[in-house]
C-alpha cells in the first residue's frame, strides 16, 4: 500500500493483499510438501473409484488420534491374472512409499460374496521373483470364513517385503469345506475387481531406532 505503511516486523514496505495472498499460497505448498516429505505433488494417474475411496475415508476417519509421525496406508489390489478364478488370484499392491518405513501392522481386507455355499478356508502366500513355484511361497496367514461380508486377515509385519522393489505380491488359495477343488473353480466367492476389491491396511512409523523410543524432554 505505497511507501507510507511499513511492515511492523521488518520495516519494509507492506505487501499489497494480493501479493501477500500469493506468497501465503506458495508458502502453504512448501510447508505441506515438506511436512509430507514429498519432493513434489503426487501425479495420481489411476485414482481408485469414488465408491472405493469413500469406504477408505470411513475406515481412516480423520482426527482419530494417531500419534505423530505414524502413518496409515490403504493400498488397493490390482489383479495380475484376471483369467484365474477368484480363489487362486494373485494380488499386486503398489507400495513404494510404505517400504521405507517400519511396518507396525498389516491386514488384508477381503469381501466375501453372499454366494458362499460352505465354510471357506483361505490361505495367503507371498509371491516373489524367487518363489515362482507354489511350494516355495511363504505362507503368511490362513483364515476360516463362515459368513459373507468383509473379513480382515492379519499378516505378519516382518518378512512382508521381499527384494522386489515397489510392489507387494500376494497369492490367494482357498478351499471349501466338504467340496472338491473342481467344484470351487467356477464359483465367484470373492469380490476382486469391483468397488469391494481387496485392499491392504498398513500402519507404519518412521524407520530407525528412535522411532520406537519416546523422546525425553
Amino acid at each position: 500500500q505505497g511507501a507510507e505503511s511499513a511492515c511492523s516486523s521488518c520495516g519494509n514496505p507492506t505487501l499489497t493483499p494480493h501479493v501477500e495472498r500469493a506468497l501465503v499460497l506458495e508458502l502453504a505448498k512448501q510447508q505441506i510438501l515438506k511436512g509430507l516429505q514429498l519432493p513434489g505433488r503426487p501425479r495420481v494417474t489411476h485414482p481408485p473409484p469414488q465408491a472405493v475411496l469413500s469406504r477408505a475415508l470411513r475406515r481412516l476417519r480423520l482426527g482419530s488420534a494417531a500419534p505423530a509421525h505414524r502413518e496409515e496406508v490403504l493400498s488397493f489390489a490390482n489383479r495380475t491374472d484376471p483369467a484365474a478364478s477368484t480363489c487362486s488370484s494373485a494380488l499386486t499392491f503398489p507400495l513404494v512409499t510404505a517400504r521405507s518405513r517400519h511396518l507396525r501392522r498389516a491386514r488384508l481386507w477381503l469381501h466375501v460374496l453372499p454366494t458362499l455355499p460352505a465354510t471357506l478356508h483361505l490361505r495367503i502366500f507371498r509371491r516373489g521373483p524367487r518363489s515362482r513355484r507354489h511350494r516355495h511361497r511363504p505362507l503368511l496367514a490362513q483364515h476360516r470364513v463362515t459368513a459373507p461380508g468383509w473379513h480382515a486377515l492379519t499378516l505378519p509385519s516382518s518378512g512382508l517385503w521381499d527384494e522386489q522393489p515397489g510392489v507387494l505380491k500376494l497369492q490367494l488359495d482357498c478351499s471349501l469345506e466338504g467340496h472338491s477343488t473342481a467344484f470351487l473353480q467356477p464359483l465367484p466367492l470373492l469380490d476382486m475387481a469391483g468397488d469391494q476389491r481387496p485392499f491392504l491396511e498398513l500402519k507404519t512409523r518412521p524407520s530407525g531406532s528412535r522411532a520406537g523410543r519416546v523422546k525425553r524432554r
Binding site: 501465503v24 503426487p42 489411476h46 475411496l53 512409499t97
Partner: protein, 114 residues
C-alpha cells in the same frame, strides 16, 4: 493469544486460511479441505521480551533480568510461534494408495516474544 488486527504493530498471530482447491490440490488431498497457515509478525519491544502470550512466569523472569541488568539491552527479542499443533492429512500418493498421516507442528496456535 493476540490475533492481529490490521493496525496492530506488536507481536501477534496473522491468520490465513488456505483452501486446497485454491492450490489446485483437491485431486490428491482428500481431507481436510484446507488448513490454517498462520504466522507470527510484529514488534517485540523490551518490556514484551519473553512474553510468550501464554506463561506469564517466563515473562516476569526475563523482565526482572532486564531491570536488574540493563534497561535497554542490545539484543532484540523476536516474534515467534509459542504453541503449535499437528495437521492430520488424508491424501493419494502417486500409486493411488490412500495415506493418512499427522504432520507435527503444522499450525501455529500462539505467538510470543522470544
Amino acid at each position: 493469544k493476540p490475533t492481529c488486527e490490521s493496525e496492530t504493530p506488536l507481536c501477534c498471530r496473522r491468520d490465513h486460511y488456505v483452501d486446497f482447491r485454491e492450490l489446485g490440490w483437491r485431486d490428491w488431498i482428500l481431507q481436510p479441505e484446507g488448513y490454517q497457515l498462520n504466522y507470527c509478525s510484529g514488534q517485540c519491544p523490551p518490556h514484551l521480551a519473553g512474553s510468550p502470550g501464554i506463561a506469564a512466569s517466563f515473562h516476569s523472569a526475563v523482565f526482572n533480568l532486564l531491570k536488574a541488568n540493563n534497561p535497554w539491552p542490545k539484543t532484540t527479542s523476536c516474534c515467534v510461534p509459542t504453541a503449535r499443533r499437528p495437521l492430520s492429512l488424508l491424501y493419494l500418493d502417486g500409486n493411488g494408495n490412500v495415506v493418512k498421516t499427522d504432520v507435527p507442528d503444522m499450525v501455529v496456535e500462539a505467538c510470543g516474544c522470544s
